[in-house]
């Protein structure tokens, strides 16, 4: 696992593509925060929403692309098959590759958040727990999407396929999903509204992170009177623990599937 992790980490961190993204992310987050960072407080505001949205839009995209393209590339070039012939268990390989990608992407995210915080400091902004919370949840979001990406990369037969699937999944989760939920909402009877929202949060890691951030900041008054009871529950400890549990499921399931696929590959190798 250690070897595979180091290998993946080294390959990804040396990629010019990821470096460019690190710089882009740092510039974007610094700009967003510097242009709207006048007001920071323990509650969810437009500037926090702007930074959160930046993370919610970019982080899944980059995690999916970076993760899946690297693995699909390895596969396409035959290096993965080569590694599989080594005396290394599929499980160590899967988790090693995953850990390596995580370290690389976390580094990029930390760089972005670090730059944004320093920029905000120089423009006279104040500390808010939001930064830490948002950073931690972005790290979690990265981890979830890297797990999904790993699975996509392993299943896809080449880079192009991995790219297509990744882009589709990104667009589905980030852009289409909410409109689909809204469309469903107009179809289902009123008493199912909360159930539908609950399900929509569980079924989409992007939604999960968005709602988690808002509830963790105790700002779920934002969700309006209809969801008052639900919001109170989501802000409570059991609600927050449920978020943790769902996030874990979102990480473990794709990893498990990837591991299954890897085993199959090993058998065929």
């Amino acid at each position: 696992m250690n070897t595979a992790m180091k290998y993946q980490w080294m390959m990804m961190i040396r990629s010019k593509w990821l470096m460019s993204f690190a710089i882009l992310f740092a510039i974007l987050s610094s700009t967003v925060i510097a242009s709207s960072g006048h007001e920071t407080a323990g509650v969810f505001t437009r500037s926090t929403a702007a930074l959160l949205n930046l993370s919610l839009l970019l982080v899944p995209l980059v995690s999916l692309l970076a993760g899946s393209l690297f693995i699909a590339g390895e596969k396409e070039d035959g290096r993965l098959s080569l590694i599989l012939t080594y005396p290394i268990s599929p499980r160590s390989l899967t988790f090693g590759l995953y850990a390596g990608s995580c370290i690389s992407l976390w580094t990029v995210i930390a760089f972005g958040y670090g730059s944004a915080s320093v920029v905000l400091f120089t423009t006279g902004g104040t500390w808010s727990t939001f930064f830490f919370l948002s950073f931690a949840l972005t790290i979690a979001l990265t981890s979830i999407f890297l797990a999904i990406a790993l699975f996509i990369g392993l299943v896809a037969s080449n880079r192009l396929q991995a790219l297509g699937v990744s882009l589709f999944i990104w667009a589905f989760f980030v852009l289409f999903y909410e409109f689909l939920t809204l469309a469903l909402l107009s179809l289902v009877p009123k008493q199912f509204t909360i159930l539908l929202f609950g399900l929509s949060v569980i079924c989409n890691p992007v939604e999960l992170m968005r709602v988690w951030t808002i509830t963790a900041m105790k700002s779920s008054a934002l969700f309006g009177p209809q969801l008052y009871e639900w919001s109170k529950w989501a802000e409570s400890t059991s609600g927050q623990l449920s978020f943790v549990a769902i996030a874990c499921v979102w990480m473990i399931v794709p990893l498990f599937l990837a591991n299954v696929w890897m085993k199959r590959g090993k058998r065929h190798a």
């Binding site: 709207s36 007001e39 505001t45 437009r46 969700f223």
Partner: protein
């Protein structure tokens, strides 16, 4: 020399007169008895100790309490009742009125009464003033009971009063912090109210000023109903985050001037409902879910020179349109996207207040769940570029610049720098380490 000596003796005598006349009340002597025995105008010094309530004061008297002097109501309706003019109470701790009724202090049909540095705890109402005139309620601490709002009394309740000054009080755990019912010429300044249903509740109140109060974490900060001629200035109204709540709600009131207030992080900062001749000027609306809400008709109401910064939604106008400029100046909107080429400080195009989001919301209230979510934010932005959504209102003279007349110090947050530096240094280390790392075959 002799006359000088005479004067000296006279001065010393006068200086000590107060104490000679001022009786000292101690634990063994009941406070009520001491008050009954005192003459009008006497000063009673109340020593440390617990005194049995209820106490009724029917003559002009001064009660000066030493620290630790407590009047215990033991569940009686009113712990202290004042039914005489020129009563002065200072430094007393008052606790335990009846449950569900009564008050720490009842001031009834009196004038020139002062309550100062009084600590009221575990009472239904804090101070209940009925038909009082020239009452001063200054620098008191009032704590209600930790029960549901419906079971609490008000902090300071003014019923049919005139010329009352409520200043520098610290009130929490009550139903309404201050309740003005038919109160005239009231001055409310520098009070702090938190954990109340309404921090300040005006009902048929006329003429007065609410200044420099700090109202935080209540359901409503200011609730003004059927009131007239009030000035609300330089208050900080923050974190009224309950979904039912408002920073300030002005309902069916007239000639209300709200200026230079800071409305921060409220679910709805200000709602105008049937206001007449109201002026909303030079306030700061920052980081609210919705900054301004207008319902029904608000005749001759003007919203001008305010700063709208970082609000999720700037305005929701559900009734008749209201004026966002006075013909020369409008407001500062951080969502305004246009230029000021002639450099006169006024944007060259009117600011149209609109949002796709609020239109959707009216159709499907559940959309609120997606407030500023990536997809809806994207839709909102796209829509603002390509279509002409119906504007909620129009500011013809949007201000381009704002000067923050901030009273808050712009201190630098070292925690922010520390957080940023740790992240930057560790990420750079990981970059460098990762790039220099050598891959050894087979581990």
């Amino acid at each position: 020399m002799r006359s000088l000596f005479f004067w000296l003796i006279l001065i010393v005598t006068l200086l000590f007169t107060k104490n000679v006349y001022g009786q000292t009340v101690e634990g063994h002597k009941q406070l009520q008895q001491a008050i009954d025995e005192a003459h009008a105008g006497d000063v009673l010094v109340v020593k440390r100790g617990v005194y049995e309530g209820p106490i009724i004061i029917r003559k002009p008297i001064h009660l000066i309490a030493e620290p630790g002097a407590v009047v215990d109501g033991d569940g009686s309706e009113y712990v202290i009742t004042i039914r005489a003019p020129h009563v002065y109470i200072e430094g007393l701790t008052i606790h335990r009125s009846a449950y569900g009724k009564g008050a720490g202090v009842l001031i009834k049909e009196s004038s020139h009464v002062t309550l100062k540095n009084v600590h009221i705890e575990d009472a239904h109402y804090g101070v209940y003033v009925e038909k009082g005139m020239n009452i001063n309620i200054v620098n008191n601490i009032i704590r209600g009971r930790d029960v549901h709002f419906a079971q609490r009394g008000n902090g300071i309740h003014l019923l049919k009063t005139k010329h009352v000054v409520v200043s520098q009080n610290d009130i929490s755990r009550v139903q309404d912090g201050l309740y003005l019912d038919g109160a005239e010429h009231t001055t409310i300044e520098k009070n702090k109210v938190t954990n109340a249903r309404y921090a300040i509740h005006f009902m048929y109140a006329e003429d007065g000023i609410a200044k420099e109060n700090v109202l935080t974490e209540n359901i409503n900060g200011i609730m003004m109903m059927m009131s007239k001629r009030f000035t609300i200035e330089q208050n900080t109204i923050a974190k009224q985050l309950d979904y039912r709540g408002y920073g300030a709600l002005i309902y069916d009131s007239e000639h209300v001037v709200m200026h230079n207030n800071t409305l921060l992080y409220n679910s709805t900062a200000l709602s105008l409902q049937n206001g007449r001749h109201c002026t909303i000027k030079a306030n700061e609306f920052i980081g609210n879910y919705r900054a301004l809400h207008s319902l029904y008709e608000n005749d001759n109401t003007i919203v001008v020179e305010n700063k709208f910064l970082g609000n999720m939604e700037d305005a929701l106008i559900q009734g008749a349109p209201i004026a966002f400029d006075d013909g020369e100046k409008g407001n500062y909107w951080d969502t305004y996207q246009f230029y000021d080429l002639n450099d006169d400080g006024i944007g060259d195009a009117p600011h149209r207040i609109r949002s796709m989001y609020s239109r959707l919301l009216r159709q499907w209230p559940s959309v609120q769940f997606y407030f500023q979510s990536p997809a809806l934010a994207l839709l909102d932005t796209t829509e603002s570029f390509f279509t002409q959504a119906q504007a909620q209102g129009e500011d013809r003279f949007p201000l381009m610049e704002i000067d923050f007349n901030k009273n808050e110090t712009n201190e630098r947050s070292w925690r922010l720098l520390l957080f940023g530096s740790i992240l930057l240094v560790s990420s750079l280390f990981m970059f460098v380490y990762g790039r220099r790392m050598k891959y050894e075959k087979n581990g």
